[in-house]
Amino acid sequence: MWKVAVRGMRAHKLRLVLTALAIVLGVTFISGTYVLTDTLNNTFSVLFGNIYKHVDFQVRGVAAFESNAPGGGAVRRAIPESLLAKVRRVPGVGVAQGTVAGYAQYIARDGKAVVTGGAPTIGLSFDPNDELSALRLTQGTAPTSPHDVVMDAGTAGKYHFTVGDRVRILLLGPPETFTITGIATFGTANNLAGATLAAFTLTTAQALFHEPGRLDSINVRVAPGADKTQVQRALAAILPHGVEVVTGQTVVNEQTSTISKALGFFSIALLVFAFISLFVGAFTIFNTFTITVGQRTRELALLRIVGASRRQVFWSVLVEAAVIGLVSSLIGLALGVLAAVGLVKLLSGFGITLPTGPLVFEARTAIVGLLVGVGVTLVAAVGPARNAVRIPPVAALVDHPVVHAATLRRRYVVGGLFSAVGIGALADGLTKPAIQLVGLGAVCIFIGVAQLAPVVARPIASVLGRPLAKLLGTPGRLGRENSMRSPRRTAQTASALMIGLALISAVAVFGASLSRSATSSIDNAISANLIVTSSSNGMGGFSDTVPGVAAAVAGVTATSTVYAGEFEFQHSISTMTAISTKSVGLTLILRMTEGTVGALAHGELLVDSTTAMTSHVAVGDFVSVRFAKTGASTVRIGGIYEPNALIGSYLSGDGFFLSHFENPVPLAVLLQTNGSTGVERRVIAALHAYPNLKIQTRTQFEKAQQAQVSQLLGLIYALLALAVLIALIGIVNTLMLSVFERTREIGLLRAVGMKRRQVRTMIRAESVILALFGAIIGILVGTFLGVALAASLRQQGITEIAVPVSSLVTFLVLAGLLGLGAASWPARHAAKLDVLAAISTE
């Protein structure tokens, strides 16, 4: 039986390659993701280990709470500088040095702010003690005066700064000019994963970051010969409440785990796409095996006649699948390593320089890759293998062996069941919300729809084919007939494409809804004409002097500064937005359902109606809150407003906010103007010194938000394109198999006078119909999923549901064109068939 399986595979090399491609691509994704994240994890842990090599202990504020933001660590309070002297006096302490860090952003020579593409722009105190410092000077000297700065080697290299140059830096206060006294690396890396670093003397840093007399942490090195545990105990004894001492290793572990948590999000996102590719691949494999088992009916029946058992027939099919799965998984693993290397290169091309380290290929990568790759292939082949088992020996003897696979009715029951379970899981998952349930629901719906698709395959193919038949004449009509010939095959082939397009359409619908909701939430929340934000992706803040400068411009009638920060509301971490209470009515639109906006000025908190409902709070209630800086307290609910994504769920006044948060940076300034001409120009001119600012009209702001959504969509489309590619490979495969199967028929057509060109047209027409069929079902399913997803996120601010018809039509047209492309090889092959060989084929 082994021989039969192997011979069969050798006879169908092409089919093998096409089938394998889907698995290769999926496993490449898995392996690439793992290798990349493992490598980065390892590199960062080595880097941090290196940096804190000589730090035995760190004294710091106790964590108030863990940040909710991806990649965010613990939120801590600063400690008094006076503690430094006390620490130094503890017996056994060799060296102790305080550090502070804050916001500092370089301005390049061309006057533009140095942007990092997501990474922070860090300012910190330069630690003159080599052993304790994270920075290693490679050129120049440490900063000594308040006008000195040490720049990271990454920025210096990229923006051509050297020792002795002067550089302007954006700070929490007004921008200032500094002299570069030295260039430093961060541990052994040029910089910290793309973050820029500006290091000042400790006192300068404290002043610049508005932390005079305070430190973020104190790094301690134990004196030679001292007992570390005793020193730690002694340190702990002198620390006031709210301050802790931890080992350097703890800090390394925390920093590494913060990074790996961030990388974890990233790798899960990539693995989702790997899973999608494999899922689509499974459909192609299933289809290929179904067709080939069908084509081998006689051969398999003959095997049964000469004594092969059912079990042997079953295994001959599965062995083939296992070999395909194994070989393609191995290739995928290898390609994944290459992909990881390529991706690092690509990222550094975008300016995200990652510290370099050895490639990490863990056993887990190989195990998961192989298990998933082989597993998916086997699972997909089980159904066809069971069909093979059902072939009766007499099938070898009759002219047109008809093998009854599962009856259509059973298919409908199974398909209906899957769809129903899928919709149930989806609904449950969306309301809970539980993302795994949503995924499971989507998978079930896909399987269910794929099962049900044969019902509509004939009528839809017939309708789709009619214009083609009109346009292309007989070859078009024959293509149409071929696509209608086996509804099951048509549906199975189209299913893979259906999934790809369903996902793309769902994303498109979701994105369009998001985009429109963003616009409407801006319209519903902001009445200001001008909006000032940071240019670094809306994430970063800017100097607290900006609102004052803007307010002084002639024609500006009102300014509101917006802040945001994390706090604990009824014991769960949430984000609080704050706005200047003075002019809030002139710049912000708050649709109050209860209470008044005026409550903000009294230090009360406003919540949106959704939060009020889910947290069971009403106006007048006192609720428990906690802040990193000031600890636990209670606050009165002063009002309830209609949900708005831009404002968020919790809104406070600026006074309240500033008293509870440590040195918050403004995130936005809303400007109301009197509409006089040139106000915008004057504002831009006045804020010229702050090149990190974006000054936009409300329309521009809306456009920018939409552009962000489209950028994200573009990225997701690119990743989903892989699934579509696999689906297309499936179409090529099916067409190729169909051509083999119809060799005689094509020969007959050629004998009675069909031209080569007409043969090609016929195959192309069939392919286009297949592709359009898959696309139509996919777009329908995808629109449903997208609408469901968007509708369920109403609370999260997706208030509008938009179906981007033009995008969907574009997808449809593209799918048709891709179908045309997929047909080119099979069509050429069919046209080249030798007439005689074709009609004399057994």
Partner: protein, 250 residues
């Protein structure tokens, strides 16, 4: 027919000159045709007979432009088709030749009617509806035209193929054992029709057959043996064919 009477080739529907067809090379070479000179008369019904493996199908394939001979030339109505490229041959088959094979004559996705009109449709020509109706009626398939091949009996399928072969009024029809799978009644009906087409509209027909009774429908029988023409019989009857076959020791 040998070329000792050159005048006949001028009027022939098709003829072949020094036709060789060799499959494989060296020791494994099979000479399916080794020097065939033959002419099929216009407006006549010619049967080709011979033992299995004697090269009948090969001869037909070469003469109909389905296959290329190793050497020698083949003509359709005086035109040397060895000079044609694939497109030319395709057009030749579509417009000037009709085919009936032993089996698998019809495209399964098309109805009987669509199968019949296929050559015309492929050429983008208008179908002569009267002619179609006449053929369908004569072949007794009028009420079967909207059916698919899978819904037709073997005899009906062959008659549909026959109608298709005739629809373009080709110069020549090639039929390779068209009745090979049919019972004697269906065979007789089919052959009767072919003979009628020869009589009534001077259709030229070349038919490969194993059946002496089938050969008796023809005007002339050409005998092949080992890739050569080994004999010819004019105005055959079942008995005379059998007699000749016995003489040739088959």
């Amino acid at each position: 027919m040998t070329l000792t009477e050159p005048d006949r080739t001028v009027t022939a529907a098709a003829h072949a000159v020094d036709l060789f067809k060799t499959y494989g090379t060296g020791d494994a070479a099979v000479h399916a045709l080794s020097g065939v000179n033959v002419a099929f008369d216009r407006g006549r019904f010619t049967a080709v007979m011979g033992p299995s493996g004697s090269g009948k199908s090969t001869l037909m394939h070469c003469m109909a432009g389905l296959d290329r001979p190793t050497s020698g030339r083949t003509f359709i109505g005086g035109q040397d088709i060895s000079l044609l490229n694939d497109a030319g041959l395709t057009q030749l088959r579509r417009d000037r030749i009709g085919f009936v094979f032993q089996a698998f004559n019809l495209v399964p996705t098309l109805t009987a009617r669509e199968n019949v009109t296929l050559p015309a449709d492929l050429a983008g020509k208008k179908v002569d509806l009267e002619w179609l109706a006449y053929l369908a009626d004569a072949l007794g398939i009028t009420d079967r035209l909207s059916h698919r091949p899978s819904e037709l009996s073997g005899g009906q399928q062959q008659r549909v193929a026959c109608a298709r072969a005739l629809i373009n009024r080709p110069e020549l029809i090639f039929a390779d054992e068209p009745t090979g799978n049919l019972d004697s009644n269906s065979s007789a009906e089919m052959l009767g029709f072919l003979r009628r087409s020869v009589r009534e509209f001077e259709q030229s027909v070349v038919m490969v057959t194993h059946d002496p009774r089938g050969a008796a429908f023809s005007d002339c029988v050409v005998f092949l043996g080992d890739g050569k023409v080994v004999g010819e019989l004019q105005a055959p009857t079942e008995d005379s064919v059998l007699e000749r076959m016995r003489q040739m020791g088959t």
